[in-house]
Amino acid sequence: MPDPARPAVVELRGVSKEYMRDKTPVPVLKDTDLDIPQGDFVAVMGPSGSGKSTLLNLVAGLDRATTGTVTVAGQELGELSESKLTRWRSHHLGFIFQLYNLMPVLTAFENVELPLLLTSLSRRERAEHVRTALKIVGLQERHDHFPRQLSGGQEQRVAIARALVNDPVLLLADEPTGNLDSTAAQEIMDLLQQLNEEFDKTIVMVTHDPRAARRARRMLHLEKGTFVETEVDALEARR
């Protein structure tokens, strides 16, 4: 259960999302309320088309709710213009994608440095941040490797370092183990768990993988745009 003493990083109030398909509105999320406090690690599960990715996109400010409000780190995202929202993301969010989405032309170091190019940090300060992030994910030795020279698990760790490097308040992971074998998937989940427990990072993870979901503190189940079960304390279940 969320700790009421900790401030909510994510607040969804009456959020609905509809897409238009052939001029017909198709509801994806229906009147959803959600609170995710600081330091929480939430796994969102559900079948394809249940609205998981839409939920993640709304929390990330990549998409806008049809109705309701999405507030992240105290900022109501609907109030921000497109460019302000983009800048806001660079300071508050870290993204981890299923397909890693590293820039193939950049080394691990340069990929991790990418979000820092948007800050006013000096080159030396940027290098320090990057080295720290790569150290956390255990890839400081591979800093000069290009993505093609890394395994899938290593690529995902570089992607996690990129998501971390700005010290965001919220990490959003979209199927982070979906493209990995079970060993690499376990390593990635170990890392995410470590980030949550040791670094107090708030994480929202969308996954199909029950094993991955069990590593979170809480599991939420979405079906046809609605949370069908109340929160399951995954950490307790795991214990």
Binding site: N57, A60, L62, D63, E82, S83, T86, R87, R89, S90, H91, F95, F97, L99, N101, M103, P104, V105, L106, E110, L114, P115, L117, L118, R123, R162
Partner: protein, 388 residues
């Protein structure tokens, strides 16, 4: 600047495509640079001739009509004239050369006063004046044919039905590499005697008269007086400044400058399409990466700028190869184009290099606008869904 390494990596992301695009820009801008250099050299040379205060007298009907040689003395007699010489293009063939170099029948007594930018050793000039069958050759003409003082050469007439047998009395040089050092001067009287012997109707006529005014001021007045002097004769003339004469000479080929500008414009437009297509292809392949950039905080403006700078860089690299290649090639013209006549005075001015590079930047900018705009508009959600 901090984005530059990323941009450079993207430039070389698909090496083959980058090389082909860059080379198409390089080759085309090489041609445009050479064509524009031609215009600029004409302009610069024309400007330079102002200091020599020279007037060129041709037949009023045009350059292809003769000017009687008797006109030369009448021009010399006018006040404000320092010197005047006939200058007739002989256009003879030397050995197996297909294109004749500049061979001019002139007056040895005053030629170096009129064309004062050329340096001739006094002894060689004196020998030239004293030798009716003698000639002076430009240093580049001599170098290209391994001529030295004392050599005998034969020029077979094409326009004139006579053959000249000449002895090289000296070699003239010039401080400016753009001067006509690929020329040869010989005695007008020698040519005229041969023509008279041959009973040619061309005898007694000069092609043009080059006049050196005593002062660069009042050239207009002197030209008016020259025109007036021959107005009511059988052979009226037209006196123009040397600058205007050069321009007129060029325009005999038609409106060359307009042709060049139109060709250059067509090349630039086609290049924009080629480079734009390559850039659009590149960006289509990177839709997902653009979506990631936007997800992690790169604004539309930054994405737009990154793509535009990339497009400009590709075009500038190609442009540098083409434009500076042209500059370098013609700087080494004596080695590269050895033996090819007509190249000796040609060069690529820095103004043309700057123009060429600006053109390259413009090609890059315009070729990048559409792909950059489309990249900036990529929706993060749709872009991340795209699997290339």
């Amino acid at each position: 600047m901090k984005f530059l390494p990323y941009i450079l990596r993207n430039v070389m992301r698909n090496k083959l495509r980058a090389i082909f695009t860059g080379m198409s820009i390089a080759v085309s801008l090489f041609l445009v640079t050479v064509l524009y250099a031609y215009i600029n050299v004409q302009d610069e040379t024309g400007e330079k001739t102002k200091q020599f205060a020279r007037i060129v007298v041709t037949a009023k009907q045009g350059l292809t009509f003769p000017v009687p040689i008797a006109h030369v003395d009448k021009v010399r007699a006018l006040s404000g004239v320092e010197a005047a010489v006939p200058l007739s293009w002989f256009g003879g063939k030397y050995q197996d050369e297909k294109i004749p170099f500049g061979q001019f029948a002139t007056d040895p007594e005053q030629i170096n006063t009129v064309l004062s930018e050329y340096d001739v050793k006094p002894a060689e000039l004196a020998a030239f004046k004293a030798d009716r069958g003698g000639c002076l050759v430009g240093s580049r003409a001599a170098e290209q044919r391994n001529w030295k003082v004392g050599d005998n050469i034969v020029l077979k007439g094409d326009i004139y039905p006579v053959t000249l047998e000449l002895t090289i009395n000296g070699i003239f040089t010039s401080e400016s590499s753009t001067d006509q050092l690929e020329s040869l001067w010989f005695h007008f009287t020698y040519l005229d005697e041969l023509l008279k012997k041959d009973r040619s109707r061309q005898a007694g006529n000069a092609g043009t008269i080059f006049v050196k005014a005593a002062s660069p001021d009042n050239l207009g007045d002197l030209m008016d007086r020259i025109n007036e002097t021959f107005k009511h004769t059988d052979a009226p003339v037209r006196a123009v400044t040397e600058q205007a004469f050069r321009q007129m000479f060029t325009e005999m080929l038609g409106n060359v400058q307009a042709y060049i500008r139109n060709v250059a414009l067509a090349v630039v437009i086609s290049l924009m399409l080629v480079a734009g297509n390559a850039m659009a292809m590149s960006m289509r392949e990177r839709t997902r990466e653009v979506a990631v950039l936007k997800a992690i905080g790169f604004t539309r403006f930054i994405v737009l700028s990154l793509v535009l700078v990339e497009a400009i860089l590709i075009a500038m690299i190609g442009g540098a190869v083409g434009v500076l290649g042209a500059k370098l090639l013609f700087a080494m013209r004596d080695i590269v184009f050895r033996g090819i006549p007509g190249i000796s005075g040609f060069y690529v001015p820095w103004s043309t290099v700057i123009f060429g590079m600006a053109l390259a930047a413009m090609i890059g900018l315009f070729s990048g606008i559409v792909p950059a705009w489309r990249a900036a508009q990529v929706s993060v959600v749709d872009g991340l869904r795209k699997v290339v």
